[in-house]
Symmetry: C2
Subunit: 224 residues, 2 copies
DNA sequence: GAGCTAATTCACCAACTGGTACATGACCGG
DNA sequence: CCGGTCATGTACCAGTTGGTGAATTAGCTC
């Protein structure tokens, strides 16, 4: 009734490539994707296992078969989300630029990055509501360092050597400032919009916001 | 059994000042306070009406008597929390300082302010997860402007007149930067700590963080 | 094609959750 | 001191929620 197996049945008849009826990996990935959307959308407590199951092409029983329970499913969602983001961050390449331009570029890329992954930001907010207890418990996630931080560290070192940057901050401080700006724009978009009447993600203001972040970090690092 | 009415009963016997058995306002305030803690702690979906009732000195029935339902109680919690914060913000007084020192002071006060109201920050995060739908629906809250913003506007105007500040930003932009820094420190404390091993609220780093915010905003506004 | 195992389906449940009907009790004005 | 109303406590409920037992089937191996 609700499911639409026609697509699979048709291809399964003649094609042998991927149209298998039983496919553990596909089922697992399906569940994980739907769960990611649901948890990001509704929060941990707000998300419903029944709802997730219904939006899947499989059944609730499979969720328990593959993940064990709601909490473990949520941790799996977090682990996948963080892994994907970290994968993207590893592609950063600003080593060839001079320090000032490199830090501006890094800030800009982080800006773009956050803007295109609102679900990830939401999951992080949700995890903070729960005091990061799931991250802390996950061996995969706790202490998983950020590639962007290493890149930033290298830039700062070059900037210090050239006498361009102030030296009373470390890479983590600067990362914190950049993250704060980018996360706030997405995570607090709604209350900010409701109270001040300005949509922080308004495309018309995007360039201004991006330039503002770059100027902010550069001005701070090169001040005095 | 579970309740402990002894305190009230004892004082009600002899004292007439505040120890009344029936006190609508007191009951309402009691519920609201407990609900604030619970919602801030567990989120909207995670908070339980039964749990709130149990932690109250009254019963679940009273929650429905005074507030009507879970959602209305939550909105009442938001309204009270915002009102209190706005009340505090109205006490800002930095008009006598020169623009640079005034903006630094305002940033510092906002910093202090956020640090001492973690529950409020949590409620804001939670409300953002729900896309500010409750704020939007509340006539009390939607469009309720921020006193700090007016103060900031006045400072900027003086700074522009004196040719001290860049003029390609408005008060809301600057407020956004300050808020982002302060909110992030509290709201993302847990994931940041779990992943980078640095507690953003560590008292030993507080002065450094506070100075960093001041320098950040001043450096940006006075750049070039 | 028999046999085995991983994957899947289906029916079912106990506990909880928000919410309510109703009886009762306290306080205040007259 | 009485009557009414606001406030409160008790008992209860229907729907939902996360979770499970056990039978069933698809596909692989030999």
């Amino acid at each position: 009734m609700t499911a639409q197996p026609s697509e699979f049945e048709l291809s399964a008849g003649g094609v042998d490539t991927q149209g298998r009826v039983r496919d553990a990996e596909r089922t697992r990935a399906d569940i994980l994707d739907v769960a990611t959307r649901e948890f990001a959308d509704q929060g941990y407590a707000g998300a419903r296992i029944n709802e997730i199951a219904d939006k899947t092409s499989t059944t609730k029983r499979m969720i328990y078969y593959y993940f064990g329970g709601k909490e473990q499913l949520y941790v799996a969602v977090l682990e996948q989300a963080y892994s994907r983001i970290r994968g993207l961050e590893q592609q950063l390449d600003v080593e060839h630029l001079d320090p000032v331009e490199a830090v501006r570029e890094l800030a800009g890329l982080t800006f773009d990055h956050h803007e295109s992954h609102p679900d990830f930001i939401r999951l992080v907010s949700i995890e903070n509501i729960h005091r990061a207890e799931h991250i802390a418990r996950s061996t995969v996630l706790s202490g998983l360092a950020n590639p962007a931080l290493d890149v930033l560290g290298a830039i700062l070192r070059r900037g210090w050597d050239a006498g361009l940057f102030r030296d009373d901050v470390d890479a983590l401080d600067v990362h914190q400032v950049i993250s704060a700006f980018c996360v706030f724009r997405t995570a607090n978009r709604h209350t900010f919009g409701a109270i001040f009447g300005r949509d922080l993600l308004d495309p018309a203001r995007r360039d201004h916001q991006r330039r503002m972040l770059g100027d902010l970090v550069v001005a701070y690092l090169t001040a005095r």
